[in-house]
Symmetry: C2
Subunit: 228 residues, 2 copies
């Protein structure tokens, strides 16, 4: 019997990365789930990441502490208000400098150490046109880097970064979750949790989540503290 290959799946606790990791499992991979505790304002997502990793049967779940507050520069790590009045123009203040570069680098380190060749990440470029590190050119540039940066790459065993949701809308991801039979009630999206660890309902990612379920015609199991 041919053993199933290992993949490192970045799991934030959010809806998208649950779908991405579930697609990896559907494609036949055994999962190593990686989350990063970067002292994000919404650290409650890490508990969700644990639930997601367990629900998907990950063989291991590493929550790597990495305190990006030391660098600053984002509403997600600093005392900068998270916008509540809907998406604006340009790159949002919730952009965290080089976050996905750092996350993919950690995934690459684990993948190489574990003998995995595949990394799965749930980014998509449509809803967050503003985040540079959620675009196809970013993912391709990272693959090229991994090829020259690692022992495995140099020895002819390059890494593949799978971003299966790249051209999806949030509604597409909700539909895909329904197809896969995923329980999205265990996931967490909100950037600025309301008291009692409830989704605030007003930040950009809450709005995208609300609209995504509505547009997909799938009942939204989320408990929002407010509605736009």
């Amino acid at each position: 019997m041919h053993e199933q290959p290992l993949a490192v799946a970045l799991v934030s606790g959010g809806l998208d990365s649950m779908v991405s990791a579930a697609l990896a499992r559907e494609a036949g991979y055994r999962l190593l789930a990686l989350s990063v505790d970067y002292n994000q304002r919404h650290r409650v997502e890490l508990a969700a990441a644990g639930r997601v990793a367990a629900a998907l049967g990950a063989e291991r779940h590493v929550v790597m502490p990495l305190d990006l507050r030391a660098f600053g520069g984002s509403a997600l790590t600093d005392d900068i208000a998270v916008p509540k009045d809907g998406p604006g123009e340009g790159i949002p203040v919730t952009y965290v400098p080089a976050r996905n570069t750092i996350f993919l680098s950690l995934a690459l380190g684990w993948a190489e150490a574990a003998g995995a060749r595949d990394i799965w990440i749930g980014v998509h470029s449509l809803d967050y046109a503003g985040y540079p590190d959620c675009r196809p050119e970013f993912v391709r540039a990272f693959e090229r880097l991994a090829e020259v940066a690692t022992k495995a790459g140099v020895e002819g065993r390059p890494f593949q970064v799978h971003a299966p949701l790249m051209t999806n809308t949030k509604a597409d991801n909700v539909r895909e979750a329904a197809r896969l039979g995923l329980d999205l009630s265990i996931t967490w999206s909100c950037y600025d949790p309301a008291p009692g660890d409830r989704h605030c309902g007003l930040c950009d990612t809450c709005r995208l989540r609300i609209d995504g379920f509505a547009e997909a015609g799938v009942p939204d199991p989320t408990d929002y503290a407010a509605r736009p």
Copy 2:
């Protein structure tokens, strides 16, 4: 008066990164010094990094805890013996999967958050032909990645990764340190410290250090526990 630009300098505590950071200072940059506590076997190098950052007048020194033991795969983080019988063929067991990719990603995050456009790293490809992430193609691939990965890059303010020692030998670096008037006695090279925090004298980096001083004709201030 024109303000001097900021640069993030990766400072390991070793000889090479001290020379690299000193060249950044000589080039007119104010320094943000970044070290990573990755639970390396030779964590004593972090004390050296603090001495180096202070000696070079860094405006800030961040020692970022990042426990790469969680991933494994290297003699520097696992219970794998560090070779003592001189350099062998191929990529050494002291290779840490994706280490410099991870370090440069962190430097990139800090640089973008601080408004710096420049990152300095002390890698050189000659002595460690075996480390894929010490080669010019790695540095160039990372610059290309940074351009598409960051808000600054997308907005037309790309990052430059300076690796001024790339084609140097260790002896060249020792000579450069002498020219710059650096006190190399505060630096640390050994991968496998002997009792009392002395350089072991037998691991690959101790051998390179010993030979580098000898070849440069510069007195070696290092206290070695043994000699090859």
